[in-house]
Symmetry: C2
Subunit: 227 residues, 2 copies
């Protein structure tokens, strides 16, 4: 068992599907919500690859304008802020509160590491009723490099006083577990509906269909050498 569990937040713990009614209100089309998130990720990744850091809130705003433009829709400045603000109040996926409580009650060290900027990250976990589960909430923005670049994972290891190899990154995004494993961390993949891990490179030690299944596997004696 790894010394520190590191949870991704958006989509892993919190349900972005809660934004769908907002996208219907604004654009008459809930399908634009995953398109927006994918565009936002791409802008973030391009910022990292080109050395032009883009924080996650800025990427969200820009991606919303691009998504609307592609769909031939107008988007007002206030609509953009409405969406970005709604990111602070996402509900947890249904099984998440109990699964996190169980891992915490087993005495494990739980942290959160998200690409959301720090004040958003904290608001997200407070509003979802999850903040008390975590020893510390980290934002990749603190090192001005978003996951899956190495720096955010290394920051968590350093501030938790452990080696990177003692982290287990838990995420519902293939790129996040790939990033953690690329520098020697372990990982667990939450294979929520419609997501699959990358077949390239090292594979997650655990794959579960939701956080209950992942917690079961993390707590099983056979996984990861836990006694």
């Amino acid at each position: 068992m790894s010394a520190v569990l590191v949870f991704d937040v958006n989509e892993t713990l919190l349900d972005l599907g809660a934004l769908d009614p907002l996208f219907i209100d604004l654009f008459d089309d809930a399908a634009l919500r995953p398109q927006w998130f994918a565009t936002m990720l791409q802008l973030s990744f391009v910022g990292g690859l080109t050395g032009q850091y883009v924080d996650f809130s800025t990427a969200q705003r820009a991606a919303l304008r691009m998504t609307a433009q592609r769909a031939g829709k107008d988007v007002s400045a206030s609509a953009v802020e409405t969406v970005v603000d709604a990111m602070r109040r996402l509900p947890p996926h249904p099984e998440v509160p109990r699964a996190l409580a169980r891992l915490q009650n087993e005495g494990l060290r739980l942290t959160a590491l998200t690409n959301s900027v720090l004040d958003v990250a904290r608001a997200q976990l407070v509003n979802a009723g999850l903040a008390e589960r975590f020893e510390e909430i980290f934002s990749a923005d603190e090192v001005r490099a978003l996951k899956p670049a190495p720096a955010p994972y290394r920051m968590v290891a350093e501030r938790c006083g452990v080696d990177v190899g003692d982290l287990c990154l838990i995420a519902a995004h293939p790129w996040d577990v790939s990033g953690a494993m690329a520098i020697g961390a372990r990982s667990a993949f939450v294979a929520r509906s419609g997501v699959v891990p990358s077949p390239l490179g090292p594979q997650p030690a655990v794959i579960g269909t939701d956080l209950t299944a992942v917690a079961d596997a993390l707590l099983a004696p056979s996984v990861d050498g836990r006694q």
Copy 2:
């Protein structure tokens, strides 16, 4: 006018829509084709961000398996090779041959720079009847870093004997023009149906709905200080 025009290949010059019948044959769903391309790009970008270089053909194979798995479809090894092989024989978008010929006839230096590996890149442009338009065909794979990282654009400038600021990168992908502009190159954006430039950072000097419109603008006396 920039000293050297640098054309992206996939989607900018060549029409990936030609793969749709193949995706219908294999998966009964042409909508998986753009999903596959987006997944392939994400794997490529993650490779760059994590320092685990992935060449474009490897990314294509992995992305096809992920796309099929997400859709609950089987994909055989031979089906994967069929798709990757079909990338060598994409047709040009209809206006492309004439637009390139016109730019070449005006005496401009035309090059191609693609994330495709070099033998695929050459086959693509030969099979599309476009190879003769280019002074040189470059692959980002030659520097083991895919666009939009700086290295591929710098390679083109160096091998063409010009400064990066003398390049004009022409692409239908927002991330490609962003990458070129991040290191001081100029750019022109081909705003094909459904694509829009990023609102972040410097903006393309030219935006046209197809390569004819872009060529018109590039050849206009008012653009980019051309006399």
